[in-house]
Symmetry: C2
Subunit: 700 residues, 2 copies
């Protein structure tokens, strides 16, 4: 580390005595953030230092290298332009009703023998954004071979990270010092069917860190379009993260771009505490405004149930014949009574959804292709317009309409992307025909086209293409196994959610997610966009239908409720089986009540990996909902209700860990109580180990 900081320090000294145009700064509106930019003498390499609260936070070299073109050195600095903006915009849905986009901007106009490159910096009060811009010029195409961007930290901070896997982000987070980053154990892990971990010190973004004095830093990406995802290679001695772009199928090439183009934004969240990271709208602000034209009323946050968890706990199967050993669907296959997506079972879920006010019913395993699909790297697997014989789609479409429920279509692609793209038009028209307006996509498997990766440019373009194409058909999108999001929900608000992290399902058949997992997700993965985590499991032990299953969800039941508030998403599943909810309708009431769209959000307290307490106001009402979760440690919480409207009486329904509750030994007890509260009052709560608390606060 020292070497590089000395280099930077040396450059700063040297630059201080040179002409003023060798070093420029831009301050955020409230001056808490400063970005200093310059070119190294002699070698003409661009560099920056980001300051927060009077201290340098991150610094390093900047630039891109390409085939036959080098945009990392030898630059002349032709011009500098500054600008600023202070605007407020309204997301179609979100954690808050309005978002302020307030920044100062500085752009370096650089030129070298390869051509022209600009670097645009934005200083926000809570962070930094910058990107590379390639204006129109004689060079028409850049095959990017490397991005040299560095983020050199000033000390060995505590970091929350997952490995820089090119194919998966479904990993448990590690908490370690930067100097201790090492992915070796991840490379050996077997629960993730498709992964590619070859760099032992590479990590994914967002990576979030805490300094010794409590400053929080997160390095992230915003607006990932037509480029490969930004991962980071850690130099654990120099404490430097270097941009690590995911490869393409072309040897040595990470991304091919036609000029003019801009890279996605590189973003640094900066906050004096953990809550500030969650309050930041940095990534959304760095994204482009909504590109869907016309009426947007068809885009609706929603809660759903579905035929899904029952496959994970071995009650039923995705495939028709109840086994995965047939080579392809044919008339020889006979159902064995284990198939989940039958007409009858779907009607049961529709009935349940209608009775309890859910918007949608997800049905997985409805279409031909689930025979012998897994891990095969096959071109042609699924047919997206051909139901199994025991799934009467005409009747179900009619029945769902009659009951006022929407069937959510499922499109598992097995990562055979060209096959899906060939069928997209037909598949979405088929959905339109049957009145289905939401699709869950899936990319389980090695990517076809072969040589491409889940996080590479090819797939990045595919995910965006699906968002665009579904929007044309007025279809909402929930992508599973894509690259982690980077705020594109602002541009494509029909793209409600992604999985793109380790979700609930791992609790059904792997070592699972440790109790701290959900206290880390909001600070890392969810900074980029909503996650379809699928909370709401009441039957914590998953041996209900398969006595051989020893797994359990690492939670109390009360914590499952709290997740609907702490894990923000406009798309929330009640993931357990209807029969498990029917047994505890009193507890289930919270899931029925909790909304999925908000006009305001307060992070009441947060410590990464330890606990989060979040309060959110339901859009269009004065009702508030609170979720509080803890890791494996029990915890006492005091909630000060100073966010309530003055003068109103609220009925608080508190769902808390019951007597003796403990995620491991006794996850089931939930105590439900109702009290009346007012603004300013303090609510003391007790969270069990691995537990949580959910509260609804309603007023007239």
């Amino acid at each position: 580390m020292k070497k590089y900081l000395l280099l930077i320090a040396g450059m700063l000294c040297l630059i201080a005595v040179r002409a003023q145009n060798s070093l420029r700064s831009v301050y955020s509106p409230d001056k808490s953030v400063k970005i200093v930019v310059g070119l190294t003498p002699k070698t003409g390499e661009p560099f920056y230092t980001a300051w927060f609260a009077g201290k340098p936070i991150s610094s390093g070299k900047l630039g891109l290298k390409g085939k036959g073109a080098d945009f990392s050195q030898g630059f002349s600095w032709k011009q500098t332009r500054t600008a600023g903006s202070d605007q407020t915009w309204k997301p179609v849905w979100g954690e808050v009703a309005t978002i302020r986009d307030h920044y100062k901007e500085l752009t370096m106009y650089l030129e070298n023998g390869s051509g022209k490159m600009n670097i645009r910096f934005r200083a926000y009060n809570n962070g930094v954004g910058f990107r590379y811009e390639f204006p129109d010029q004689p060079l028409k195409e850049l095959a990017v071979t490397d991005e040299v961007t560095q983020f050199t930290m000033t000390a060995d901070h505590t970091a929350w990270w997952i490995p820089g896997d090119w194919d998966s982000n479904e990993h448990v987070y590690t908490t370690s010092k930067i100097s201790a980053i090492d992915c070796s154990s991840y490379a050996k892990e077997t629960a993730i069917s498709t992964k590619h971990i070859v760099q032992m010190k590479a990590v994914q973004t967002p990576i979030t860190m805490r300094t010794a004095n409590g400053t929080h830093i997160s390095i992230a990406e915003a607006g990932l379009v037509d480029f490969s995802a930004l991962h980071l290679e850690a130099d654990t001695k120099e404490l430097t993260f270097k941009a690590n772009l995911i490869p393409s199928a072309i040897p040595d090439v990470k991304s091919v771009n036609k000029l003019p183009f801009n890279t996605p934004w590189r973003a640094i969240f900066l906050s004096k505490d953990a809550a500030g990271i969650l309050n930041s709208k940095l990534i959304l602000n760095l994204n482009e405004p909504c590109k869907i034209e016309g009426d947007l009323s068809w885009i609706k946050p929603q809660k759903y149930v579905g035929i899904w968890w029952e496959m994970h706990i071995n009650k039923s199967t995705w495939d028709y014949a109840g086994s995965q050993d047939a080579s392809s669907f044919n008339s020889v296959l006979k159902p064995t009574g284990k198939h989940g997506a039958t007409t009858e079972n779907t009607k049961k879920y529709i009935d349940f959804a209608a009775k309890h006010g859910f918007d949608g019913v997800l049905v997985e395993g409805w279409n031909v292709g689930w025979e012998n699909w897994f891990g095969k790297w096959k071109d042609e697997v699924f047919d997206f317009t051909k139901p199994y014989p025991d799934y009467n789609i005409d009747e179900l479409a009619r029945y769902a309409k009659e009951k006022g429920v929407k069937i959510i279509m499922h499109h598992e692609t097995s990562a055979a992307v060209p096959s899906y793209e060939r069928q997209m038009n037909d598949a979405y028209a088929y959905m339109n025909k049957y009145g289905m307006n939401s699709v869950k996509t899936g990319y389980v498997g090695k990517i076809i086209p072969k040589g491409e990766w889940h996080d590479g440019q090819w797939m990045v373009n595919h995910y965006v293409r699906v968002a665009e194409r579904t929007a044309q058909y007025k279809i909402m999108l929930d992508a599973h196994e894509p690259v982690r999001p980077s705020g594109l929900q602002r541009t494509w608000p029909n793209w409600l959610a992604c999985e793109a992290a380790r979700g609930q399902e791992f609790n059904a058949w792997s070592t699972g997610n440790p109790p701290e997992h959900e206290t880390i997700l909001p600070f890392t993965r969810i900074l980029g966009g909503p996650m379809d985590y699928t909370p709401g499991i009441f039957q914590i032990h998953v041996n209900q239908f398969d006595p051989n299953k020893k797994e359990q969800v690492h939670t109390t039941v009360a914590k499952q409720l709290a997740l609907y508030v702490t894990l923000y998403s406009p798309l929330q599943m009640a993931a357990d089986l209807p029969e498990n909810y029917e047994k505890r309708l009193d507890v289930f009431q919270f899931i029925k009540d909790v909304p999925v769209d908000w006009s305001d959000t307060k992070i009441l307290e947060a410590s990464i990996g330890d606990y989060i307490t979040t309060a959110r106001r339901q859009k269009g009402t004065q009702n508030w909902f609170i979720g509080s979760i803890t890791d494996e440690n029990a915890r006492d919480v005091s909630i000060k209700l100073n966010f309530l409207q003055a003068g109103k009486v609220y009925e608080a329904t508190i769902y808390e860990d019951g007597p003796g509750a403990d995620w491991e030994k006794n996850p089931y007890p939930v105590n439900i109580r109702k009290i009346q509260v007012r603004k300013g009052q303090v609510l003391p709560l007790k969270l069990a180990a691995g537990g949580g608390c959910a509260i609804s606060l309603t007023t007239k």
Copy 2:
């Protein structure tokens, strides 16, 4: 060679003294062809010997190797079944009105530790077909790593071949002994932009050979679907060709197939003379019957003109702005007056087509994407529903309809196949909307998905997919730069033609095609299916618009006329510019008169690489058309008109090389004369060096 023949001889001896079930034979209906099959003792490797006219012709081992499965040895021979067939079928279009499919069949039922494999052999009077069949069994998928099929020749025959390029078949043919096969000079050749020649002794199929006694042999493939193309690796010492399947993007894997499946047919044409090869319908007979259901009247053989040759001779450009250096189409680009596909120019061609009775007008360069497309290996290049601003498609569709002419759509993909597949539905619906019922596709460039090849399984499936999809939209297909055809026009008769060989265009900007080229094509490439060769160039020197161009077509004008008969295709272009035809309307009359669909065909004489004389009867009439071409040597031909209908008087219009004609020194003179002829008469003709003669014979 000797070693292997001795091995085979040894096996035959050995087998002769073993039990009868160790060796089986099947004879063709007239006994001229015999196939002997067996298993090697001890190692259980299947082998065959094909006999013709009492002599062994080809022999070798049989089988496939896969990942974790070996279907090449250790077999038990469980059962043998024999069968036969004698049926007549009518092609939708063709060289003849009816085709007889007459064969005897023997199937070996084999089993080893990997599973079951059958080998089905068919003995025709003029050839052999065999394929591997994998019935339903516990093994569900086979990742084929190698095909061991051998074709060991009995002597060092003369062969006509092109290199086993994985990406291109646009090569000049070499005539050499088998022992002299060497692709080194092809590997260095630069006229073909996308090629991949890495095996110096690999050749493509069909490869055609002549033995010392004049027997003709061609090794070919029929019904190439869901498999990689069959090339051959020559062992120039052993005179053995071994199957050489084109790789896929998966290391070591050539083709991935779900069981049950059958491989394409491996075919050996056998004939006592060259003409017999051309008369054979072996490949068509080995293909599946038509799969397009319902009315087929929308499928129509056709002649066309188009905006195409003018780009090759630098009169105009494909791209809007008249240069290939812009990165993408945008409003900044300004036309320079060089763009070919303008509304005005297209109307000129429509007028010409209407005036002279052509069915179609091909327009290349009409759509956005031709900026900076070439050699870029880009994902997204062309937009197939977006015309350039100077191409008024609404007006042109109206105008073409008024004139009774069809505009032929052009879809150059630059081999960015997923991009094309994403747009297929929209593009074909767009064609339907504008009344366009024929499409010419193009695959110039390195294949995307990266790692795949023009001749590999992925692309083979794509080409078939396009044929299927276009059929759904009642669109006829002409594929350029695909794998060479294998008779699939029987199954998909809307697939009128392919390029898939070195066409006329090479004469415009390369060393060109030698005068013998068109005398080899029918014996090799065209055995698999019609070629869109684009004959009919009248302006032999191509410096008409660019004085720097030194190239010329290697032909006389009369030979250009003869090609419409000798190079069979239901889709024939009159490739030259309207203004060049307008100057010689008397000569042009033959191109106007010559039909593109036939009820009968007679190969009057043929010698590969030297000359061909072909007579064909126009479908639905008693009119005959004759084409006679020669290589670089002048030639006297005597045509015996014994195929004409007895008792009728025919008016023969003879278009022959005029005084002093010579392809190199004086290609232009054409003498046109009319005479009356009757059945049995002999017509003496003189063909100039590189020349030809075309004759129409009409009767009432």
